[in-house]
């Protein structure tokens, strides 16, 4: 997890966890609020059906519409403005909780929302998004890049990258609203409910996937971490203060793990901050490459592809987002061959694995903190690692994910048929918000990725460790593990 306002981090103790906890709880509140509002549809009260949704288009006038037919009178532009206004009000109020200037946030968010959503709309242009011959015929076009509608995420990412690398002053001006970790956490809370509806129809498969996710934890913490720590210490000569956050960032979960472990071993705050910069940049490279590799080589092993994204991409935002793009690409490729898989399983696999890995960050940070404060840099009793740090470092947004998953599953399986049949449509409206938060995440990740950082003096050695460890070990061992545990398992077919 990554606080966009890194400037706040410099003078704080590395073991302070105040900011990430606030953002986590905020994500829980926002995500649950959207989920609860969506569930009003079960009582035939549509509270969020006005949220804008975008379809693949050749005629721009037909690109946008309200999610629910009940609000069709709004028109596409009306739905778009309603969505912007609602998010502006809610997120600006959240700015108060984050102790940020509401005016600055509101102005920044206005720019972020409109640029990000415009990129998404462009990405849905038929020449970019249409996949099958039937779709191309429908839109009257003879060629398409076949990126699927979720290719719009890539357009949002590229828009952010352009701003970060060519308009740095504008990037600085909008930084208050560039919060990829907040946006993806809200999205993941909503995703819990969405995945519950998907899993409800195939509980046996869902349970199998969760059990297999345990292998991901073993790999990330015990195998990845040990190898990367050894490489950083022995081959590149980094000292312990650098190597531990670096190994955590590369092997576990990028930003949050680097910061948690940096705090646990009482490293200077500047170190996890620098590691975090690298994490984001390499995650962007992975998002731009891995989903397309997965489509080319793993189209017939869709859950291997999903698991691979969860194991190989090293921030929550990028991993879950990569899972979404991979799902879209692989479903499209299979659909072109006449095989229509049910959507949600590939994305759900990637998200579940990432969430599993996140759960144990606090525990691993405590283990390392215990070793450091008791055996390496022995400290006074009051400075030693304490059990309560496990809870302090636990990513709270996962609680939101578990709540929406449990409630969604109960509603889908434990209520009357009348209510159960309304659940998919109700949660579908919340899912539209999930898509919008994904768009904001992609754009924000791009804005934070200034590649000139890599050319900064001294960054070369850090980048070299990252490059060797990630693309020489983590990505391929992750693929092997995904294959071992998810090979041969396919999503159910769409009904």
């Amino acid at each position: 997890m990554f606080d966009a306002t890194l400037n706040d981090f410099g003078s704080r103790r590395a073991d302070s966890v105040a900011a990430p906890v606030n953002e986590d709880w905020l994500a829980v509140v926002l995500g649950l609020a959207i989920f609860v509002l969506a569930l009003a549809a079960l009582a035939n009260v549509d509270l969020i059906g006005w949220v804008v949704t975008t379809s693949v288009w050749s005629n721009l006038g037909q690109a946008l519409k309200a999610t629910s037919k009940d609000f069709s009178s709004l028109g596409g532009i009306g739905a778009l403005f309603a969505t912007y206004a609602a998010l502006l009000i809610v997120l600006s109020a959240s700015a108060v909780a984050l102790k940020t200037s509401v005016t600055k946030f509101a102005l920044a968010f206005t720019a972020v929302f409109w640029i990000a959503y415009a990129s998404w709309v462009i990405g849905n242009f038929a020449h970019f998004a249409a996949v099958t011959s039937a779709e191309q015929q429908k839109f009257g076009i003879s060629w398409s890049l076949k990126l699927t509608n979720e290719g719009g995420y890539i357009f949002a990412l590229i828009a952010g990258l352009i701003i970060a690398n060519f308009f740095p002053r504008f990037a600085e001006a909008v930084k208050e609203a560039v919060r990829p970790e907040l946006y993806i956490k809200v999205a993941i809370v909503i995703l819990g409910g969405v995945f519950a509806v998907t899993a409800a129809g195939k509980l046996g498969l869902a349970s199998s996937l969760i059990l297999r996710g345990v292998a991901a934890i073993v790999e990330a913490y015990l195998i990845y971490w040990a190898v990367v720590y050894f490489v950083a210490r022995k081959w590149f000569g980094f000292n312990r203060e650098w190597a531990a956050p670096l190994a955590s960032g590369i092997s576990i979960c990028g930003v949050s793990a680097a910061i948690a472990v940096g705090g646990a071993i009482r490293a200077r705050p500047v170190i996890p901050v620098l590691v975090s910069s690298l994490v984001v940049i390499f995650a962007v490279v992975e998002v731009l490459i891995l989903p397309f590799i997965a489509q080319a080589f793993l189209a017939h092993e869709p859950l291997v592809a999903g698991a691979w994204m969860g194991l190989a991409v090293k921030t929550d935002g990028a991993a879950v987002a990569a899972g979404g793009i991979t799902e879209s690409l692989i479903l499209a490729k299979n659909a072109a061959e006449g095989v229509n898989y049910q959507p949600g399983w590939i994305l759900g696999t990637a998200a579940t694995i990432k969430v599993f890995i996140d759960v144990f960050i606090g525990i691993w940070a405590f283990v390392l903190g215990y070793i450091w404060t008791n055996h390496i840099n022995v400290t006074r009793d009051q400075d030693k690692a304490k059990f309560k740090e496990i809870w302090e470092r636990f990513p709270k947004f996962i609680i939101g994910f578990l709540i929406t998953f449990a409630v969604g599953l109960y509603l889908a399986l434990g209520t009357s048929a009348d209510i159960a049949k309304k659940v998919p449509a109700a949660i579908g409206e919340a899912n539209t918000f999930r898509v919008i938060f994904f768009i904001l995440t992609f754009f924000s990740i791009g804005v934070l990725s200034n590649f000139k950082t890599l050319w900064q003096e001294g960054f070369g050695k850090l980048a070299a460790v990252y490059l060797l460890s990630l693309f020489g070990f983590v990505v391929w061992v992750g693929l092997l593990i995904s294959w071992l545990f998810f090979g041969g398992i396919t999503p159910p077919l769409a009904s």
Binding site: L6, G204, L211, R212, V218, F230, N239, L274, I376, K461
Partner: protein
């Protein structure tokens, strides 16, 4: 935050040989990880995914 001289930060870090506790951490972590993975893989083989 003032511009951090990363090269200075990286270079001023003294070279530290691996301590015995670090070697134990790496060794145990890898060993337990591989053993657990092999065990899970065997379990996975005998308990295939249900649909």
């Amino acid at each position: 935050m003032t511009q951090v001289d990363i090269r200075e930060e990286v270079n001023r870090a003294a070279v530290e040989p691996l301590l015995p506790i670090e070697k134990k951490l790496i060794g145990w972590s890898l060993t337990v990880g591989v053993v657990l993975l092999v065990g899970l893989a065997i379990l996975n083989h005998f308990i295939p995914a249900t649909f």
